[in-house]
Each structure stands twice: as structure tokens, then as C-alpha cells.
Symmetry: D2
Subunit: 138 residues, 4 copies
């Protein structure tokens, strides 16, 4: 499938004294792209929480390949790698279109939990269907 494309611009407060976008902030970039993907799939994350389901991150693997800097416009591609009974794995690739540099790659596994009890809870069928449609055929 084609990844969902999202643009972010590095904020000054996200840089560190090395002059790089600090590595922790990439998680916010990935999250913003994932949120946009879910909204585009017809299942905004906020709606999911309103139904009592949360998707906390369980596993995050990031590879930083080249530094990003203040005011860099980054293209964050995000797609669904795997849908489990009570989990979703997203994959990401961050590029800087201005010079074509590959900035970072990542995968993140989110667990589906009941917000009340904190226990694992299978993904609701309509969310699964929305995500499967978004996923398309690989």
C-alpha cells in the first residue's frame, strides 16, 4: 500500500544544543502522522477513546539516519504493518523532501486496552475494518 503522507516542520523548541531535532521529539512526529492516518481512515483516535478504548505504545524501534534541523520540513510516511487481535503495528519513514535525505525509520506496536480497567481488549470490528481498508492490499 501507499503510505499515508504527513508533513511536519521542526520547531525551535524541538532542537537541542547540538542543533539537531532532539530524538525524543520524533515520537511526537510519528504520533502526529499516525493520528492523521487514523483520522483519514474514518476512525479518529479521539473517537476511539470516547468509546473507552486506548492505544498506548508497547514497543517502539527507531533508527535515526541523518539529523533534522530547525525549520526543516519533514515528510512522515506511515502505514500499517500488522493488525493483531489486540494490537496494531505501524511503520514509518521520515524523509526531508528538500534534499531527498532519509532521516529516520521506525515501527511502533500499540496495544488495544480498555481505558477503564487497563486490560487488553480486542480491537472493535469497525476499527479493524477501517484499518484494513486503509491498509489495502500490499
Amino acid at each position: 500500500m501507499a503510505p499515508h503522507q504527513h508533513r511536519i516542520t521542526v520547531r525551535y523548541g524541538e532542537t537541542d544544543q547540538m542543533g539537531f531535532a532532539h530524538h525524543a521529539n520524533y515520537m511526537l512526529y510519528l504520533e502526529e502522522a499516525r493520528t492523521a492516518l487514523m483520522a483519514a481512515s474514518g476512525m479518529p483516535y479521539g473517537e476511539l477513546e470516547a468509546r473507552g478504548i486506548g492505544l498506548p505504545v508497547r514497543k517502539a524501534d527507531l533508527r535515526y539516519r541523518a539529523p533534522a534541523r530547525f525549520e526543516d520540513v519533514l515528510a512522515v510516511g506511515v502505514w500499517i504493518e500488522r493488525i493483531g487481535p489486540a494490537s496494531i503495528t505501524f511503520a514509518y519513514r521520515i524523509d526531508r523532501p528538500a534534499d531527498g535525505v532519509h532521516i529516520a525509520s521506525a515501527t511502533m506496536e500499540l496495544a488495544s486496552i480498555d481505558l477503564e480497567s487497563g486490560a487488553l481488549r480486542p480491537l472493535p470490528d469497525d476499527l479493524r475494518a477501517s484499518l484494513e481498508r486503509t491498509r489495502g492490499t500490499d
Copy 2:
């Protein structure tokens, strides 16, 4: 009264490309000091929320006098300036003990709200009493 003293150390991820602790992070330092003051007064903020009361910030005035840098140990003094019917005003002063430099000053007014409805809600008597004790006689 003597301010409650709290120490924080500037994290790398809190610096910006100017090499300064980014100004937004001072709000986290002030918050951490305020949280420590409340815990010391016998009324931890978390307990307040458990009772259905939140203290969102309504007003924040900060003066940055000298930059702080990575690994700087900062002394954050915090005291209560005013207790209103449904608000508390905290005052702060940040110094760097290593060289005695005055880093910043601030005041923040927090509203007391009902977490359920979001409406203003008078401070409970026991919290007010705890804070008044903490405040002492000026």
C-alpha cells in the same frame, strides 16, 4: 515566609540550538517545584485530583534574566503569594547556586475547578488550611 526550595537539573533534551534551556521548559521546572511544595504542605496535587478538583494555570508571567544551560543545577524557590476563593497564586525565583546568578522569576495563578464540569469551584477548606500553614506569616 521562606520559599520552598526545589532542585532541578537541566536535561539535554531541554536545551535548544542556542545552547540554552528552552524557555518553555521553565514551566515544567516551576510545576515540579509547585508540586513539591504542595506535597510538603500535606496536600499532594494528585490527591486533589482524586477528589475531583483540578488546578489549571490561568495566568503565567515569566521573566528570564540569564540563560541556563545543560547540566546546570537550578534552585527553584516557590511560595504562595495569594489565596483567593477559587484560585492560588504562586511566585517563583530560579537561581543557579554554582555562581549565584539569578536565572528567572515568575508568578502563576491557578484556578480551582471541578474536573467533571470544568466550572470554578471554591478551594476545599482543608487544602486552604494546608496552604495557609505553608504560607505562614510573611
Copy 3:
């Protein structure tokens, strides 16, 4: 003058357990809007630093009027309130277009410093001219 308008969307990681966009993050929203204003004026902040000049925040006054929440799209209006010999004061107003709620207001005074020495340094004439043009006639 008409404020420069900038849009931001509240990220999940910017919320706090009260369910509000945490007050410290507003400083990043204001900064992003200010950066966009400077870029639009023909004097991107990054270029200024490349010329050895920094604009650290010296004074920040924020008024939080209504909470913003996850995925809220906020309109951040920013304009120049005053240009001093070695300082610029920006004013801001944040609204939520979806329901017309006024979220926050702020002013921030930035000092113009020499990045090498840290000392105050008068604003360069071309920056001043760019900003004056942006400012227009009130």
C-alpha cells in the same frame, strides 16, 4: 495591522491527564506562529542566527482563558506590538475556529543578542525594516 494567522493542531503528547493541552506547550505554539511571521516578513529566524544574532525570550505573559484539547485546530494570530533598539515584543491571540472560543492571549518580549558573546546587540537595520513593513500602520 492584521495579525499573521497560523494554524496548529494539538498533539496527543501535548495533552496532560486533565485532558487539556498542557500550558507549557502553548509556548511552542506561539513560537511556531512567531517563526512563521518572521519567515513571511522575509527574515526567517534561522537566517538571523546564521548572521550571529539570537532572539531569546526575556519576558512572557500568558492568559489561559479556555482549555484546548487533543486534535483541536487552533488559530494563532501573531503581530508585532513594539520594536525597541534591541528587542521585539510580539502579541498573540489563540482562538478555536470550530466553536469560536477564545483560548488564550499572550505577549512575549525577545531580546536581540550576539550569539557569540551573549551581549545585547541592536537589531540589524534590514530586520528592523522587514518587521516594520510586516507591522504596517496600526
Copy 4:
């Protein structure tokens, strides 16, 4: 070797609307612990940068096992897993001493670079020696 132990307390601004310490902030906790380990080894990270060497993160793998919450005191254990010619791999384990819950584990690989050119640069011998001593015999 025994991990270097570091304590952090979850800040309010680090929670998200799920009521958990947001996953991005763990990177700041790990960084703070790593910084403390380096300082304890006699080679503070700031000194390294003063010598023109930076250690940006190249690879980060995190496993979130149980949520941490506001005001939780977390014990972050950090140790050196591997020292390469121009890289160091740190391993981490975060526990919550109050109830013995294992919160998270992580490994992070940092590259050693020349801050001027951005190119890989072998770790200086004295840093390597400091770290090897810290590492001890496994």
C-alpha cells in the same frame, strides 16, 4: 556489572490524557540516567561536547511494560552493553520501587561524531577507558 541507578519523578506536564507518562518522555528519563552515568564515570557528557565530540542517538528500542503515572518515582538502571569503535550501546531498565512493577526496558546506540563535520569519529581513548572502568567485568 551493577547498573548505575538514577531516580526520576514523573512531572504533570509529562502525563497525557490517558493519565500515563507519555511514551516520548521516557527518552528524557533514559537520557537523564545516561548523563548521570557518564558524569559518575568521570566523563561528563558536557565535557565531551566541549572537546568537539557529540553522541547523537542512532538507534533506540523501547519496550513499555506497564504505565507510569504522575508523581511516580521511577528507578532507572542504566549500564553499558557494548563499546564499538565509534559507538556506545546503553541498556536500561525502569522499575517503580513503590510496588516493584517493571515499567520499561530499552537499549540505545549512540554514535560518536565530530560536532564540526558531523562525521563519525572514534571515541577518544580516555572516554573509552572511563566507560570500560564503569562497565567493569560482566
